[in-house]
Symmetry: C2
Subunit: 223 residues, 2 copies
């Protein structure tokens, strides 16, 4: 059983109105296990599959694993959130609804449907999700746009995360039910989408610059 | 003299609280003329200067004009807004304060200091502004990263504009003092930051893809 606040829900601020709120029914460990195990399955599948592509480096295989993981997370979980404004009323133990009921303990703006969170999640789910799956395909088939595409999505993820953290800070940074949820959900869960897109952006930037340098040296020689 | 609503200000929603609000003192035509004439001076200066750079195409000269214009707008006007939460109380006819008092008639979220608007404007003023000036330098000196940089800033501008419009829509799209201000300020003034970054993104994407294609063909030949 979870603790209920004045508003009939466990979220902060306590005076947040969520009429018809139905408490999360799965345990935290069940929710995290389902996410962890399905992510592990998807990543393992991609790692094995990518090994069968000719001349694909380990770096490219890790990138394909990241893009399928982040792409499916964006489309399935974040996509569900964007188009389900009343997920907190969900009675059946619908997995994505459980995820957002649980995550809202780290950031109640999800349950409160903060327009900035919805806008960022909308762009993430509708544009960056499918683009991430396209990145898997582009790496596998060595499309010439693969670095540009990965850079574009990574910068988008960084922009979204920046807006997400800055608006919370500006609005008082008081949306977590406890310090535990603040650090484990709000900080830790989002950290991957700061660290990994930063690394990929630098990697792609370098790859593109190297290609442009080669082309310019060639042009200079032709003159 | 401007029309004052219930709240002692001309903005919508009428119940927006802006204690200490001081009405805009410059006329609309003065505010627009100062912006128009200084922009024209900056762009003319850059057009003439860029003509003195060796082997700089007309496209590159136009790009340099755009980047200096958008960079200075981001740093001076949007930078002022981000770090002046009480601009609407400004008594002296301080030009940037006048601009935002006037623009708030098209979108009162500026005067109301909506956290999402502040976050997007903060990223724009602090990161994209200086990066735009760097783009002028990168084009002038033909740095190999110039297309990547221009693509990165343009995608950032598009992301920011998307968040800006989507959040307004989600929050009821009722922040303009009249249809006139809605279309002339909120829609028209922002349209340039949708159209131009889109064109530049496509242009840079193609340039980068072409260079990567050349590099890959070369690699394939070497095998």
């Amino acid at each position: 059983m979870e603790m209920q606040g004045e508003g009939g829900h466990p979220y902060i601020p306590r005076d947040l109105k969520l009429p018809g709120y139905v408490p999360v029914s799965l345990s935290q460990s069940t929710i995290l296990s389902i996410f962890g195990i399905s992510s592990l399955l998807v990543v393992s599948f991609m790692w094995i599959l990518s090994g069968r592509f000719p001349k694909t480096s380990k770096t490219e295989r890790w990138l394909m694993c990241w893009w399928i993981f982040t792409g499916l997370t964006h489309i399935i979980l974040e996509g569900y959130f964007v188009f389900s404004p009343e997920f907190y009323k969900e009675k059946a133990s619908l997995y994505p609804a459980e995820v957002w009921k649980e995550y809202s303990k780290g950031d109640s703006r999800y349950a409160a449907r903060d327009s900035c969170v919805v806008a960022v999640e909308g762009i993430t789910a509708v544009l960056e999700g499918p683009a991430s799956l396209l990145a898997v395909y582009a790496i596998a088939t060595k499309k010439s746009y693969r670095y540009t595409l990965q850079l574009a999505i990574s910068l988008g993820q960084l922009y979204g995360t920046a807006v997400y953290f800055i608006t919370s800070y500006l609005d008082g940074d008081n949306f977590a039910a406890s310090m535990y949820y603040y650090y484990s959900y709000y900080i830790t869960a989002n950290a991957s989408w700061v660290v990994i897109p930063t690394i990929i952006s630098i990697y792609c930037w370098k790859k593109i610059s190297a290609a442009l340098q080669v082309q310019e040296l060639k042009k200079a020689k032709l003159r």
